[in-house]
């Protein structure tokens, strides 16, 4: 039975653990390889869960989040197309 960490991309707890075992053991590279925090919700469920798993696996204290970039919420291409273009 699966333990889902990220609902947006169906990332399971074991996906995260495998990636950490494979050497992706800091939050930024872990994000890039597994894709957590990059789904529709931008990490609203998964970040705190992944931080806990990473702390447990590496024994290090995690106090950094991956970088935040705009846009921070979903938007349609149409709304971008209507702006000015200078």
């Amino acid at each position: 039975m699966k333990k889902i960490v990220c609902r947006c991309h169906d990332i399971t707890e074991s996906d995260i653990e495998d990636a950490i075992d494979a050497g992706y053991d800091d939050i930024e590279t872990l994000k890039r390889i597994t894709g957590f925090t990059t789904g529709h919700c931008q990490g609203k469920t998964c970040l705190s869960l992944v931080m806990k798993i990473l702390e447990r696996k590496t024994g290090k204290k995690i106090d950094q989040a991956p970088r935040t970039r705009a846009p921070i919420d979903t938007l349609t291409l149409g709304s971008l197309a209507t702006g000015d273009h200078d």
Binding site: K2, C41, D63, G78
Partner: protein, 528 residues
């Protein structure tokens, strides 16, 4: 047809509005025009809204505040709409974004590839990339490409550029109070909120606040929200933008980008900003934790108290704080059976004793030293397995117990919605006692030179403290804008005192200590 709506609630009278009809994959569904799409579908008995992207697992309602991605469906041709915040319109056509993959489910479920492997699949030789993508697109179900793109598409530019003195992002208790205090002193205020009505999460609080603040004491949360919204609507120097999301802040331009209804984009520049974006629900990792029927405590409160819809017949609550206790009480109020509150804490729950006693009086067992291990059921929750915990919070083998329930409510706390704050380039810290990532701020509630912070986004607390913080941030911003009147310093002193009183309980010692750690004298000396 089944109807999960509550028609006789002891406290709340639900004004559901006019009856309308929705069409789910062509099938008519009864709805009311004050409901959201997700609420109407839930009331009709639908639990599975879509299938997840990779393993095609059932997905349904979860957070109810438009923060997660669980309830996305295709609404009137627009894919990936968060149905929990999309208001109902008569004749709306909903599609569940189910795809070919439902026939392949058993095979896809066996798929077990670590992410670093599947990222390299179908990329070489490049000739197979495109056809492979077309197949995968058919399987994922996150919307389909337009069948035909018209040659001369008419684009009506709906973009605006606005300026305001004080931009308040988030129309909950903190944001509304901040806007009110500033607007009373003649500041031009704009409030932005991504929902279709202001008031934030106050709308779902049916209990009475106990607090020293004159404004709030003795009022039920939803009435308090209504009073504030009415007051703010009467002011003519306040501009309200609802259904509008702040998607970014660009420091080089000092502007916030908003996206409003009908794809309108708004660039707005303000002299001072107040970020009161609130928080969102935390989740737990356990087996089948994504099954429809596993809901956030806030989601259950919304269903129950805002829309008057029963989340199920018998619920199990996970969590130890006030939210878990509160939601249990709300369920009992509505006549729904509570199977128990499962709390990992050692001796007693961490919430207020008053609340815990109230729950116990109603015969609800509070099961400490236990946590949830597994949710059972294939398409929605049917029973749960809980497990005992030892001194080190490790599961005790063989202590599993089955609890009968048809929904599980996870109330394990909130995380501040810090995304927008971070775009202002503040100094962020991770403070578990305050909920998670928060910026360092000064005593005037500034976290950068031109932006203020208040409410749950600055530290997870109660609605009453959020209101006080919001008021104070509003007053300080007013002062900085040079619009202060004689009463302003007295007001600041009054609110600061009330805030201290509110936090002066044994429950708040950890919080107050953490707060001291992140509060500096002057923010300008900390950030360059």
């Amino acid at each position: 047809m089944t109807d999960w709506r509550i028609y006789d609630h002891p406290i709340v009278e639900f004004d559901r509005g006019k009856e309308v009809t929705l069409y789910l994959d062509g099938k008519p569904i009864k709805a009311f025009d004050s409901e959201t799409v997700a609420a109407a579908l839930y009331a009709s008995g639908l639990r599975e809204f879509s299938k997840s992207i990779k393993y095609r697992r059932p997905r349904g309602f979860f957070c109810a505040i438009g923060r997660c991605s669980s309830c996305m469906m295709e609404v009137d041709g627009v894919p990936n709409v968060r149905t929990c915040v999309a208001p109902v319109k008569d004749g709306m056509k909903i599609r569940s974004q189910k795809t070919l993959a439902r026939f392949l489910n058993p095979i896809l479920n066996l798929m077990k590839l670590p992410p670093q492997k599947y990222m390299r699949m179908f990329t070489r030789p490049s000739i197979i990339y495109k056809p492979a993508m077309m197949v995968m697109r058919q399987l994922t179900g996150i919307g389909k490409p337009a069948e035909e793109i018209p040659e001369n598409m008419e684009i009506t530019p709906k973009s605006m550029e606005l300026e305001t003195e004080f931009l308040v992002i988030g129309g909950g208790p903190a944001g509304l109070m901040g806007a009110l205090e500033a607007a009373k002193r003649g500041v031009n205020v704009t409030i932005v909120d991504d929902k279709d009505m202001l008031g934030g999460q106050l709308v779902k609080q049916t209990h009475t606040f106990f607090s020293d603040i004159k404004y709030a004491a003795g009022k039920r949360g939803f009435n308090l929200g209504k009073t504030m919204v009415e007051e703010i609507k009467e002011m003519n120097n306040v501009k309200i933008l609802t259904n509008t999301t702040a998607v970014g802040y660009y420091p080089s331009e000092n502007r916030v980008l908003l996206v409003g209804p009908e794809e309108t984009s708004v660039k707005i520049k303000a002299e001072k900003y107040l970020i009161a974006t609130g928080a969102y629900e935390k989740n737990l990792v356990f087996e089948n934790n994504d099954l429809p029927g596993v809901y956030g405590a806030g989601g259950v409160q919304t269903l129950l108290n805002v829309y008057g819809i029963k989340p199920g017949n018998r619920g199990l609550i996970i969590g130890t704080g006030n939210v878990a206790l509160m939601v249990a009480y709300h369920l009992i109020q509505a006549g729904i059976e509570v199977a128990g509150i499962v709390a990992p804490s050692r001796r007693r729950v961490k919430g207020y004793h008053v609340h815990a006693a109230k729950i116990k009086r109603h015969g609800v067992p509070i099961i400490t030293r236990h946590t949830i291990k597994r949710a059972l059921g294939t398409n929605f929750v049917k029973d749960a397995i809980i497990v005992g915990l030892d001194e080190n919070y490790e599961e005790i083998e063989g202590s599993e117990k089955k609890i009968e329930c048809d929904f599980i409510c996870v109330g394990v706390g909130l995380s501040p919605a810090y995304d927008l704050v971070k775009l202002f380039n503040p100094e962020m810290k991770f403070i578990p006692n305050l909920g998670g990532f928060i910026p360092i701020r000064d005593k005037q509630y500034r976290f950068v030179e031109n932006a203020y912070i208040a409410g749950d986004v600055s530290s997870i607390e109660e609605a009453t403290t959020a209101m006080l913080e919001g008021s104070l941030a509003g007053l300080y911003a007013t002062k900085a804008l040079g619009k202060s009147d004689e009463s302003i310093d007295a007001k600041i002193a009054e609110y600061s005192h009330a805030l201290e009183e509110d936090r002066n309980s044994p429950f708040s010692t950890g919080l107050v200590k953490a707060m001291r750690e992140v509060t500096v004298e002057n923010i300008l000396e900390v950030i360059q």
